[in-house]
Symmetry: C2
Subunit: 153 residues, 2 copies
DNA sequence: ACCTTACTGCGAACAACTTGCGTCTGAGGA
DNA sequence: TCCTCAGACGCAAGTTGTTCGCAGTAAGGT
């Protein structure tokens, strides 16, 4: 065991989850490389769990300076195609990525750009309605609702 | 009065609405030019009322070949900042624009990319919930819901 | 240890806008 | 009607965020 540098109280949780995710990737025919490990770790330890590709690259490059931005993009794509991470694309600027640990949606503030998670259960009624009226199957993820957050009102 | 070319049964409605919109623009300090008139007309007559900037440019350029794409973008921006048109940005590809004639939202199919309008009233309950739980004021427009449409399921 | 072949770094390509610049023009006023 | 001048235009060049082609590297099954 032992030492990654800078251990924190919850590093065990992070490490366990990290390995769980990486095995899922490996079991699906993917390979686990230093870069990929670092990208997943960055996603796990990101403050608000919603980060851009460049955020991830910046974090990763603190420890591994030659992991290229395009590797981050390719890793995110590999994880997305396996349903491990999700992408939120609020029109302006870069897309934001997050682990799909639980079904949730996003309230995106038009003013400050902050992203708030909303549990999927708030949407069950709406989902049923869209299904009934339009035969449309709402994705359980990826939904971004624009508006104005409490702070910016 | 009289003749634009190629008159159709509902051209009067279109023309009336066109002038209404252009006056709103003019009353707000904007200027009405040939290009802007053509852009608004393209929005009014678009088949599904949800068009990309390039769609608009293509339509406009049939009659006015030297209206530049950048003029279309600038006109759309002018109209958006005045709340006359709205923009839907489904992650992939170009943004789609539409007149804000009534409050509605969008069901965007992940597979075929089709956009279905949903009246805002389906969202009143959800809006109240977001307000109550997070103090978040959902925009009455611009909401795009990802998923799979009836045809693609 | 060996052999596939997925993954990588790098730079160049790409799509969708956005902007700087010099010219032109709509529309309120003299 | 004519002036004038900020707002709008055409054009080309620039930005931004993301993807791709290539040749080299290294996972991981055998």
């Amino acid at each position: 065991m032992a030492g990654q540098h800078h251990r924190h109280p919850h590093d065990h949780d992070v490490d366990a989850e990290l390995e769980r995710i990486l095995s899922a990737l490996r079991d699906d025919g993917g390979r686990v490389t230093t870069g990929r490990r670092a990208v997943v770790r960055a996603l796990l330890t990101a403050d608000d769990h919603h980060v851009t590709a460049e955020d991830i690259a910046a974090t990763v490059q603190r420890d591994h300076p030659d992991v290229h931005l395009s590797t981050v993009y390719r890793t995110l794509e590999a994880l997305e195609s396996r349903g491990i991470v999700g992408r939120v694309n609020l029109g302006t600027g870069s897309a934001v990525h997050h682990l799909m640990d639980h079904a949730h949606h996003h309230l995106v503030c038009d003013v400050c750009g902050s992203v708030t998670e909303v549990d999927d259960d708030a949407f069950t009624e709406l989902r049923a309605e869209m299904e009934r009226r339009y035969g449309f199957a709402m994705s359980p993820q990826h939904l971004a609702v624009a508006g104005r957050c409490a702070d910016c009102r």
